[in-house]
Symmetry: C2
């Protein structure tokens, strides 16, 4: 029942070490030997034991995914992306949700890393933005890849995958401006998230390019939540909409859905009286009524690339054949929640 590397070695008539070389795709194995071993592996249906590899080897075959994100869709997408890559490469994934406000976080982190001797870590926002964490990892000498909101201007492209929220916001805002909107509200997400400031800057840049003045009253400091969207819309549209706002950018899809909800409560017609847009294109941007105009962000693809980047870092130059993209720009998706100013 249980097949070990030794069984394969015997069947192939080589040493265990050679089998090990083959399954790890190490160089200096003759093609012929390689084939013989592979045949034996297949015949016996051999599966290398992960625990033994982790124990004996220099680098382990386990990577971690760390997140502090209440958005289930986001987390699932990230997981699936990393997971699909892991499956291909024979790695294991351990997931580690945590709260960056938690004082025990640091300790927990260290515990996890000590216990499972991770080959590397994928960090997602907002954790990826905290130097407290990256410093800790640097200290522990753990490889990691960060998924970050930002523009690919920095020089640490071998550690980061950027999501260009600036551009996404710029384009969404432009879309609205082209439809004649000038008084555009923005319900910002959590201040602690880099995506919030990136999106805000993109919004501002678009206004500038269209010679449209920015009114500070158009901005609402919120959070990345449905409830915050409700509150934000109420605040922006208060006093019978004296600000004359005709469009609102939600900080993300959830916020936009909240804004939609609030508008409905106030009897406002979407998109006739008010355009609303989101970010991320999560499934429920298609489940609101009307459906949300938003910026599509391919989180599963992004996380796949993050994992790939991590693997190349961990194992040196192997797999360099496939080019790694380290910057992603969400693409705008126009649906029914936005339309011309009337």
């Amino acid at each position: 029942m249980k097949v070990t590397i030794n069984d394969v070695a015997k069947l192939a008539g080589v040493s265990m070490k050679t089998v090990s070389r083959v399954i790890n795709k190490e160089p200096s194995v003759r093609k012929k030997t390689f084939d013989i071993v592979m045949d034996a592996v297949k015949e016996l249906n051999y599966q290398p034991n992960l625990a033994a590899r982790n124990l004996a080897g220099t680098s382990s075959f386990t990577v971690g995914l760390v997140y502090d994100n209440p958005n289930a869709y986001y987390v699932i997408d990230m997981q699936n992306g990393v997971l699909s890559r892991c499956k291909e490469e024979g790695y294991e994934l351990v997931i580690h949700p945590c709260s960056y406000t938690d004082s025990q976080m640091e300790e927990e982190f260290i515990t996890m890393i000590k216990r499972s001797r991770l080959a590397g870590l994928v960090l997602t926002p907002p954790l990826s933005e905290h130097s407290k964490i990256t410093n800790l990892l640097d200290e522990l000498k753990i490889h990691y890849v960060r998924v970050l909101s930002g523009r690919p201007t920095d020089d640490d492209q071998d550690t980061c995958i950027y999501v260009n929220d600036y551009k996404a916001a710029y384009e969404i805002t432009t879309h609205l401006l082209k439809h004649g909107h000038t008084n555009i509200g923005f319900i910002c997400g959590d201040k602690e998230h880099k995506s919030t400031s990136e999106r805000l800057e993109g919004y501002k840049a678009a206004l500038v390019d269209f010679d449209t003045p920015l009114n500070a009253a158009f901005l609402y400091d919120g959070k990345y939540s449905f409830e915050s969207g409700v509150e934000g819309a109420k605040a922006l549209l208060k006093d019978n909409n004296e600000l004359a706002i005709t469009a609102i950018l939600g900080g993300n899809d959830e916020v936009a859905a909240g804004a939609l909800f609030a508008s409905r409560l106030m009897g406002i017609q979407i998109p006739e009286q008010l355009s609303i847009t989101g970010f991320e294109d999560s499934p429920f941007s298609r489940q609101t009524w009307p459906k949300l105009t938003t910026a599509h962000q391919a989180n599963d693809v992004i996380s796949q690339h993050a994992a790939r980047l991590l693997f190349t870092k961990t194992r040196g130059a192997r797999n360099q054949d496939k080019e790694i993209i380290t910057s992603f720009t969400p693409s705008i998706v126009i649906r029914e929640s936005s339309g011309p100013k009337q």
Copy 2:
């Protein structure tokens, strides 16, 4: 930097085996010895190496969570529940999404199990309902716990955690009947899911108890998706609602949200002209407008218990102190999407 069991043993002045006994909470360790060792563990901040434990020990410290469920909220809740338990017990979790229609599934399963020598598996619906999988696991002699839709009448309570969807549906239907609704549509979920038939039976039972005839035309064969909810509502309300339906049970919250969406397209007022309800109480049942009446299902608690049950199975009688609940009944949550018949 790296602390092994040997270091602890030396500091405590005992053998490695004794330290091992202490960290595994094995019996026959003198209280005094226990304390001495624990002090050493703390002083050195020792963390047992998981790979070594998995390799050397009889049962591993890794459990798996297997799912085939497109519902991100559900998956995340299940994960978090199992994960929280794992953290407490020092186990690792590997997650394994898979498709039960995939022909490679079986092979993948075997590969995963061979590779990581799992202590056990938590199966969630609909995978937990397939004898193909449970048979395979029985064959491989792998412990598992199934989370199932059903009533706790079966005798394999040491392997199953039941979610009483029958009762949930019964109560939701009763709620509607009490509000005077008699023509109640039901947009069923996937036929392959046990929850679909359970919910349907609960619905029927309530009708019987209220002497309300069931019209087969009130039932729509759908899927657990938003789109199916849209289609279902359109079908049930077609021809200007000649069936005179005044309430619709969505197969789950997503379906209900879809029905809500369709109703809106048709210009139907909710809940004045039509009551709509869901199941599960997932976050977006609070993000529709109006908010959904639904049946709250504590998936995180359920999965915690599943994990606990698995651990007691794996390690014999330990932890029996905390009683394990193997049956959960969702509780109805009344919100704005349902109201009296008008």
